[in-house]
Point group: C2
Chain length 370, copies 2
Amino acid sequence: MTTHTSLSTIEQEQRAYLEALEAEMQLFFDEQGELMAEVSAETLPILDAIKKLSTGGKRLRALLAYWGFRGAGGQADDPIIIKAGLAIELFQSAALIHDDIIDASDTRRGAPSVHRQFESMHRQQGFKTSPEAYGVSSAILTGDMCLSWSEMAFSSIPQAGAHSEARHIFNLMRTEVMAGQYLDIVSEVVHVESPQVALERALNVIRYKAAKYTCEQPLALGGALGLGTAHGEPSPLIDHYRTFALPLGEGFQMRDDELGVFGEPEVTGKPAGDDLREGKRTVLTAYTAMLANSADHDFLESSLGNQQLTLTDIARLQELIRVSGALDAVEQLIEEKSQQALGALATLQVSEHVRTALEAIAAKALKRSA
Amino acid sequence: MTTHTSLSTIEQEQRAYLEALEAEMQLFFDEQGELMAEVSAETLPILDAIKKLSTGGKRLRALLAYWGFRGAGGQADDPIIIKAGLAIELFQSAALIHDDIIDASDTRRGAPSVHRQFESMHRQQGFKTSPEAYGVSSAILTGDMCLSWSEMAFSSIPQAGAHSEARHIFNLMRTEVMAGQYLDIVSEVVHVESPQVALERALNVIRYKAAKYTCEQPLALGGALGLGTAHGEPSPLIDHYRTFALPLGEGFQMRDDELGVFGEPEVTGKPAGDDLREGKRTVLTAYTAMLANSADHDFLESSLGNQQLTLTDIARLQELIRVSGALDAVEQLIEEKSQQALGALATLQVSEHVRTALEAIAAKALKRSA
């Protein structure tokens, strides 16, 4: 009964935060729109694309920052955590825009990806030269703009100045995710090494591109803002946050990778088996390469990254990933990460209110149906 | 004689600044290299590419920031203007990396552009899938990393906090240049409107993509840091800086555009007539379209953006740009901008030392041999 009451209080508080974040975002977009219109109204499609992309999404990162902030003593309606959430979500939009160019993804959250939107605009307006090149160029600039806006939002927080731990975390987060993203594209082009090396590489990509970025650093960032920690100052709470959020993020990403292979298009907003077509190298594909028989292994290797995969091919790949035992192996790994995360959460020095909120986020992140 | 002595003092001071900037940059790269190596040594090609690109260049933007700072009372060896210079130059590197993807440029400063470097690496390492796609993806991420690093350098300046005018200028500068860059690619795809509209568009691109970014904002930024101006606080010196640096930047960019058409490869580090092949729409091409006879006009329109242009085609284009009177028209415009800039400089409330330094920069920027 207590948990029930507390969950509804938490949901209410969370909703209030997300609404404040949405309002801040709209205000921010309005201000940027005025600046851009001064340059030329022709530049406004950039704003429109960022707006459309940024109003969707689960806001997992912003919510972790929020509860990290609250757990560290921050007030529910403090503008600094709203601005931090805005900075994190705009960074995520920027990353998605450029990711979709890199992965040649046609769709994002059920809508055309940004480079495809500009490509369509080129065709509709009857522009000259290549629609594809125009789409990519425009999306590169749109991502750059969004990246700058993210920083603009972050630097508007007076408590995130040059010597703060929050600034340090925000900087590190960006370097890590971009390095992790590069590592990811390297993993798609290198020739297969030993399955063990491929697995280690996939785990490393997950750690830097996903787990630290999606869970660990947002929670730590919120904590640092809540505590007002200076860079270099020891902080047991932030350290403890990390022991909870890193395995949470690893588990979450492995779930997400399962979804990229087995997820229904209605759930993922992407075509079935899209990650296979894109040639994404994940812990799941690494385990499959390790465990599958030789014929299946060869079929997997020749299929990953083949844009022409049919639904039959995809069904066969799904089947062999299952039969090889790779899916079970990943499930077990997720279970381990989940235990680590929940174990750390149980002893976290935060109020029961915050712990319950983090539990709910963890449950949602780890138990998404694949 | 006085001028002579003063010029050598100025050069010495400028050299000391550029050396300090170089040292700061190396230190910054070393620190980032350590972080990246922690992710994986495989990510270090990103650092190498940024390093190689950033150690070249004229440092025009950093020098304008420096003299803006000195003119506003800043000390010659103050670390804040070294960090600001680093932030500006890293931003420029990021912009160049993405520009070269957008313009499909093979070379930059006489070396292969970043996407071409990664493309070569792909071939040398015998990687799988498309070298071109890998080159572009890697360069997108390298530009993103560099953009983040620029911001990291800027936010390490305690005097550039949330409410400072310097922060405001840095933010605005980024929005303007990205919007201007988008406007530039739009100008390459829209169908020709009236020559007057094309000219206005070209002038707008120059203003936002080049003049404000290359001259006006760096000088204003240095001034704001030197004065310690809060955002919104009136500042006659910064206003006066702008009336000098905006026309300076416009004149500079028109010179640069002439160079893109008439420049020798040894001077530009790019093939002859490269801007014509890329289909760059400039004030020079707009004037040509306006003034050329119908046959020449048609040849110009069918040639701009044609990657297959021969040296003979380029020579014919150079000739028709001259004969149409467009080159003279642009020369006259540069002369007007030059007069405006020098007029404003003459009454600027700065020491003669700073004025002489700015005069030397202006002379160099405006008188580059085409």
